[in-house]
Amino acid sequence: MSDTTTAKNDAVKIPAPVSGVGGWLDDRFHGAKGVRVLLKKVFPDHWSFMLGEIALWSFVVLLLTGTYLALFFNPSAAEVVYHGSYTKLDGITMSQAYATTLNLSFDVRGGLLVRQIHHWAAIMFMVAIMAHMLRVFFTGAYRKPREVNWLIGVVLFTLGLLEGLFGYSLPDDQLSGAGLRITEGVMQGIPIVGTYLAYFFFGGEFPGTAVIPRMYILHVFLIPGIILALVTAHLFIMFHQKHTQMPAKGNTEKNVVGQPFFPYFLLKGQAWFFFIFGTLVVLATFAQINPVWMYGPYTPLAISAASQPDWYLGILDGALRVMPPWEVNFLGHTLTLSLLIPFIVPLGVILGGAALWPFFEQWATGDKRFHHINDRPRDAPVRTATGVAAVTFYGVLWAESANDLIADKFTIPLYTLTWIARVLVVAGPAVAFVLTRRVCLGLQRKDSAMLRHGVETGIVRQLPDGGFVEERRPLTDQERAPLLARQAPALWPAPGSDDGGVPAPPARGIAGRARVTASRAFAETVPLLPNGNGDGRDNGYHNGHGTGEHTAAEAAPGGPARLNRGSDSADELAIVASSF
């Protein structure tokens, strides 16, 4: 490395400030070596790696705009009579919170713009986190050693939900009050402690006067503080563990290939920040959001139709809508399942499931290796299928939160629509799982076929005997690399059963059998090539699908039944794959 430094000295003149200021700093902080590492830090390039950055820059915009808003907003439920620019509400009694929201919208230059940027940034923040999490999930980037950063991400998403809920509840307009009322109703439905929680949070009966200042301090101090700390930890851990990279030629588990932080990522990061900020400003300027002045101040007896929360809470609202009226009364107590299930199940399945997944996968596959090369989603069929099932579950509940709008726009009877959602929320994920798994395996077969036979060129040649053949060309090394990255997970327990079919000790018992079943599901992979390696290009192996197909299956302790299943599904999969 030091050779290069001297080599560079020939090409570039070191500017005086760099040696001067840099030297001054280095005398005091000894940073030259460490900061040089930062300059040369490799940032792999892939479009999907920018999703997390959207969340980061949106968060920066949220901090900037939120600080500005706090200069004008008064989080108080104290009543005032409004006399401001919005004359339609002139003389109306309202809370300070609502009045100051109106004032900063209409009587402060740029106030409306900043408020709308803030709201759009919150929406973008949550969208980006979700997209980023989906990317990380579907590419397996959460695997060892990155489980902790994955968990931090799950916590950040959860905190984002809360932060958003408190944020849009602050202006104390009609819509946000309705949202708070629903929040309070759900809190009351929590068994045993529900009424106490609600009373403590609202300082007594709903709506009271305490909740706005309480949400305010949570919204502007406590939660953003935790988010900031966790984002910092998230970035430091990422920095320390280095990025994952997509499978490509030259990318290995032992290297990171990409462009250096300085100047490439610095310039790109700068560009990305300006694009995101700019996009948020475009939205805030031309796409009105949360026009609180049109909703009026909150009163407990008014409501407007089509009251929807911000998108990221839609899943909870949809779950409330989809529930049948289940309530259990026993021993003088009421257990309101139609509140409790929507509160616990969607978040439990999505966030709890996300948090547990890396550990479940490790348990099922027995895979304790380090992973720095990401999987292509097709190469991990069970994971991808589980992810798509979760997306389906989420999507159904999310769409159900707009059931009144969908019913209205598409003239579907409302109750029919809710019944469809009730069926879909259960059946949809199961169907999605089966279909996705098959599609993944089909795509694997397609990859294997390409490795084996090359790519169809579209050029048809006539043979001397009159027959026609289509020319194929072998894949280039760049094209082969991602295809060859597929690895069948080892079956657990690997050297398992003895010849008599007696399972190995860890595979016994309920947990052991469950683990073996899960392990087999994870291990089902179409082998890359009949000979199991990637050296042959178009090796003329045209009809020998049978021999190497079951490399993974044969290792299974299950035996023949397993083999049959493998080949059946493989044939069906070819059909599925061809239709895609």
């Binding site: 629903i182 403590f200 949070f201 290939v257 790109k268 694009f275 700019g278 139709a305 409330l320 760049q478």
Partner: protein
């Protein structure tokens, strides 16, 4: 995957398959230490790119100036606008001008930056070695050794009395912050079981505070939101005591006498002149049930679509609400105005654990 320009003209390739053109360009140099060069990939287009980037940055500068000009030039707010000016229009105009200027400035900066890095910098890719994250076994062993030695010196393992009493000492302190939260609010007591309604308290129309005689609700099928007289400014009271009155044509209203654990909760006797009063607070999560369909007598909550049959004791027909809307007993007071005959006989609003 870069596509070479001389790609053979052939059938369109299927999405998801690699290009048929051989892609053999590996831009990454083979040597680990490339010789340094700050030259852009293409000197000719770099000259153009430089002009474009500079033009974008000048545009950003001008838009930034425009932002400041718009801030100074476009006034908003009652105190600064001339008499008679429309404050809303002024605010929206200011928003449009400030937002447009800021959009252009930021997007131009972003576009300039990305063209800069793409067109003006050489396409250098470097490779960094990934070191094992786990420490060398010797380091791990040394750490464990040091830790165990420290623990042994501290006596924490050898003197359980000290260790346990220390843990004991921290337990109440760990609970203290939770204890401090106790005064966040009063205990629920039986608040949720009662509303401010009581015998003789008049119903008045929400927002106008007008008392009602049965004759004032002459047309069957209308729904009116009413509140207890004198509580129009008490949001806490209204959040539970809001009531809807529905007038039925003779013979349409059938309210069964229902009991809940020995308490009468609905009765035809609680209606006056075919006018029935139900709680407006949805028994699901407490939204106001604000929609009424006259022909079917359905009351619909707009939040989660719980639907109640107004003609039949407001029983649940559809949706997540598990209970009928509580009925408020009505009577006529001495002056012939509609009034409550008592409080609700069951809790209104969403269910809760202690409700039973």
């Amino acid at each position: 995957m870069s596509e070479t320009p001389e790609e053979p003209v052939g059938p369109r390739r299927v999405i998801g398959t690699p290009s048929t053109a051989p892609v053999a360009v590996d831009t990454r140099p083979e040597s680990a230490e490339p010789t340094f060069s700050a030259d852009p990939p293409d000197a000719k287009s770099a000259k153009n790119a430089e002009r474009v980037v500079a033009a974008l940055f000048v545009l950003a500068f001008l838009a930034g100036c425009g932002f400041i000009a718009a801030y100074i030039g476009l006034e908003v707010g009652d105190s600064t606008l001339p008499k008679g000016a429309n404050g809303v229009v002024a605010a929206l105009r200011s928003n449009m001008a400030l937002g447009s200027a800021l959009s252009v400035a930021l997007l131009a900066l972003g576009a300039g930056s990305i063209i800069w890095v793409r067109q003006l910098t050489p396409d250098i890719e470097i490779e960094e070695e990934r070191h094992d994250l786990n420490s060398a076994p010797a380091d791990r062993a040394a750490f464990q050794q040091d830790f165990a030695e420290g623990a042994a010196i501290s006596q924490v393992t050898r003197r359980p009395l000290v260790r346990r009493t220390m843990l004991l000492a921290t337990a109440p302190l760990a609970l203290a912050p939770l204890v401090l939260l106790r005064d966040l609010g009063p205990l629920p007591q039986t608040d949720l079981r009662h509303t401010v309604w009581k015998k003789g308290l008049r119903v008045v129309v929400n927002n106008t505070e007008r008392p009602l005689r049965p004759a004032d609700i002459s047309t069957p099928g209308s729904m009116i939101t009413v509140i207890p007289e004198g509580f129009q400014d008490d949001a806490d009271a209204l959040a539970k005591a809001g009531v809807i009155l529905i007038k039925f044509a003779p013979g349409e209203l059938h309210i069964p006498s229902n009991y809940d654990g020995g308490t009468l909760v609905s009765s035809m006797n609680w209606t006056v002149d075919n006018i029935v009063a139900y709680s407006k607070i949805c028994t699901h999560v407490g939204c106001p049930v604000a929609l009424y369909e006259q022909t079917t007598h359905h009351i619909l909550c707009p939040c989660h679509q719980s639907t109640f049959d107004a003609a039949n004791g407001a029983n649940v027909i559809f949706g997540p609400a598990a209970r009928a809307l509580p009925q408020l007993p009505l009577m006529l007071d001495a002056n012939g105005y509609l009034a409550a005959a008592s409080d609700f006989t069951q809790p209104v609003g969403p269910s809760f654990w202690e409700r039973g």
